[in-house]
Subunit: 501 residues, 2 copies
Amino acid sequence: MTPYLSLERLFGRLRSLNDAAGILGWDAQTLMPTGAAEGRAEQLATLRGLAHELLVAPTTADLLDAAEARAADLDPWQAANLGEMRRAYAHAVAVPGDLVEAESKAASAAEMAWREARARSDFAILRPHLAEMLRLARAVGEAKGAALGLAPYDALLDQYDPGLRRARIDPLFDRLRAEIPGLIRAACERQARQGELPPVSGAFPVAAQRAVGERLMGDLGFDFARGRLDTSLHPFCGGATSDVRITTRYAEGDFTRSLMGVVHETGHALYEQGRPQRWLGQPVGDARGMTLHESQSLLLEMQACRTPEFMRHLAPVLAEAFGAEAAGLDPDTLYRIYTRVAPGFIRVDADEVTYPAHILLRYDLERAMVDGDLAVADLPGAFDAGVKALLGLDVPDAARGCLQDIHWPGGAFGYFPTYTLGAVAAAQLFEAATAAEPDIRPGLARGDVAPLLGWLRANVHGKGSSQSTDEILTEATGRPLGLDSYLAHLNRRYLGDGAAA
Amino acid sequence: MTPYLSLERLFGRLRSLNDAAGILGWDAQTLMPTGAAEGRAEQLATLRGLAHELLVAPTTADLLDAAEARAADLDPWQAANLGEMRRAYAHAVAVPGDLVEAESKAASAAEMAWREARARSDFAILRPHLAEMLRLARAVGEAKGAALGLAPYDALLDQYDPGLRRARIDPLFDRLRAEIPGLIRAACERQARQGELPPVSGAFPVAAQRAVGERLMGDLGFDFARGRLDTSLHPFCGGATSDVRITTRYAEGDFTRSLMGVVHETGHALYEQGRPQRWLGQPVGDARGMTLHESQSLLLEMQACRTPEFMRHLAPVLAEAFGAEAAGLDPDTLYRIYTRVAPGFIRVDADEVTYPAHILLRYDLERAMVDGDLAVADLPGAFDAGVKALLGLDVPDAARGCLQDIHWPGGAFGYFPTYTLGAVAAAQLFEAATAAEPDIRPGLARGDVAPLLGWLRANVHGKGSSQSTDEILTEATGRPLGLDSYLAHLNRRYLGDGAAA
């Protein structure tokens, strides 16, 4: 067996371990009984620890060196795969195995504490756990930064989005920081001029909402032979290779969020299901990173489905599912409902215009924490001050403030910026897609996503990790990531005449 | 760290891997989308392969030797734990890792083929897979037999029930082979004299059946903080330490099987949940073996719950859940329904009197296959001939013949006898329990299982693997496993006056 093929075998085993952890993680958020949490944490820590041990075994470095010495024998995909293997190895070997297992276990404990802290709106319950997670994240950032020649925060960013750097984010976010508050104000004023929109209310049984969700997932191209829809407190897309599991949560009185949550997670799932089949199970077959991943969920949700076109498909589906309860939900009304702008406390409930404000705040705070400029004890105050400054709101309690997100308790420092970068990429990609494929918008009105999905398969999903994020964007749209399409989209939809969406 | 404590750490990791596989296996049978089967097989093979590698690492033998040299320092539970570690190591090291991983993958493929073969009642679909599984099982049996000084079939038995040997089974099964056909005949004749029993039929919604099942699980002492009830094609008890998941299957027109299936699996689950808490995660904390495991499900189902006493608790529960549909289901009628005897094709649907015939047949056939005396190609004919001889029935198709069970396709040769040995042990244990605790039977009529569960916790569950099966039985009942209680029970219930159950 050549060194390269030995590496493929190793990374195949790592993928199986990672997939196993993916299903166990899904289960923990959907079905697991409460008393199983401690054991599950042990299981996940063991799987992650073993994967780390396998990856950093001395033989791996030898195999990488030997395979790289014979790189001329490899085809371009194999060469890209080898590059991704080296990347994974460099990340892993920088961190001692004890730290990996400690972080996994501490994260499980911190996530449990977070649930209780949020339920009781008591930051003190989380504080020691969060301090420990920050300590571990800083240790990881420093270790990886030293090995990769990066600042600690850049090293953390690189875990979620290979190649992403603070220097790339700052100019984009600086411009958003300047433009978003004015945009929010203007959008709210325009909306006020259009008059009140009655709240959606009625009896929308969970089973019927679930059926509509599954119907739309099918319409949007989700393959149920390789995935599922379930329920969890926090919607997510998880599972394993060839077993992509998305979740949503239901409120009997309002179907709108559960439904658009399903659409959002379906966007993630389509990326997962559309990765290059030949390379599933190898690093080069993975989704490129969280910016492109989020771009796929937001492209589907914000660009394709929160549109007048898609509402024409949705309205009769709702009428059939909910009968009289859906009366009055004509396409125009649905479009207004689904493009409402209102500053609020909760990131995951935020509309498209206020959402970046939530991210700008978290980006500032997590950088400051990782840099040692903000202590965990001072987080609630800093968080509340940021919400006041960016959204003009007074945070009433910690549950609606710095306790609302699981990311930091879970150890995910460096993840938040990819949400807004994803929104930016989504606008850029959709603009290019609709320019290249004139049938995409008419297709959405028919509930036919094939023209859009075909373009995404060819230009994003099918590329796996064979190119960088900016290379993929440049080939697909003619330029690297930039704000023009995104700001044009927001201005058109929220400040324009409303017709063009 | 002492050698013994290093071993505890190693076996803790192995338990986590095993628990992870347990949840993944549960998921595969309950929720997994069809297209995920291949990946799941890889995941399970990887977990099992890694667990094997960890266990047979050269350091393990050194640690075992060193710990055994200092065994005088250990308390009795630690000493028993060390003995179980040695046992696990001896089993594992006898088999090369390639064979372990090959068996896991082949079993996944064979189980998939079995599903199709059974659905189409076509043995040819399964045949090559079953031949491969037999080949692998024989290779395992020979390798372990050589290492442990056992015949191959004894080595396979020992995997499921430590210490179980063919020489222990044969005299018991020979007597059953002599007695069971007469018992079946006599029971059927007596039943015919009692007159026809109308079939249970009605509309019993799955949700209501499920609610009754969960209600009874709670009554019987199941801890829902450490387990779940779900649905699968084949009922089973699986999951992980502190996460015991049982399943049943539902038919809208007949609640009786799903419900007693829940009771049966609850018996398994109570054993799992009642293991010694201090030793969970270590080998000595495990259930002792499949004979005692099956004894716990059958003790609950056959000895405790298929009784006039329990029917007095069940009847009002059914009336509340099913309303008018449960009319006529008074305790006496329920008892007659739940003690009907009728030779049939399907083992899992068999009543208590005909069940041993199914096991005697499978025991004969699997021994012959492992010994090389029966080729896989000849299995259908031999199976059908055995059904004719033992039950007097002509097998109409392979689905109702040798394709009905997953055990052999899954590689489980040497497992079947534990079902009937479990039934035998159940009768012996229940007789001792009711003699020691006079409130057990009256408790069942009140739906109060505490007196029974207390006795089982003290005499079986809480002992884990600290003693052998016969030691546990002898301490609990005054004698090792024997047929007297079992045959007395069958004669009393099926040939007696019916009042004593």
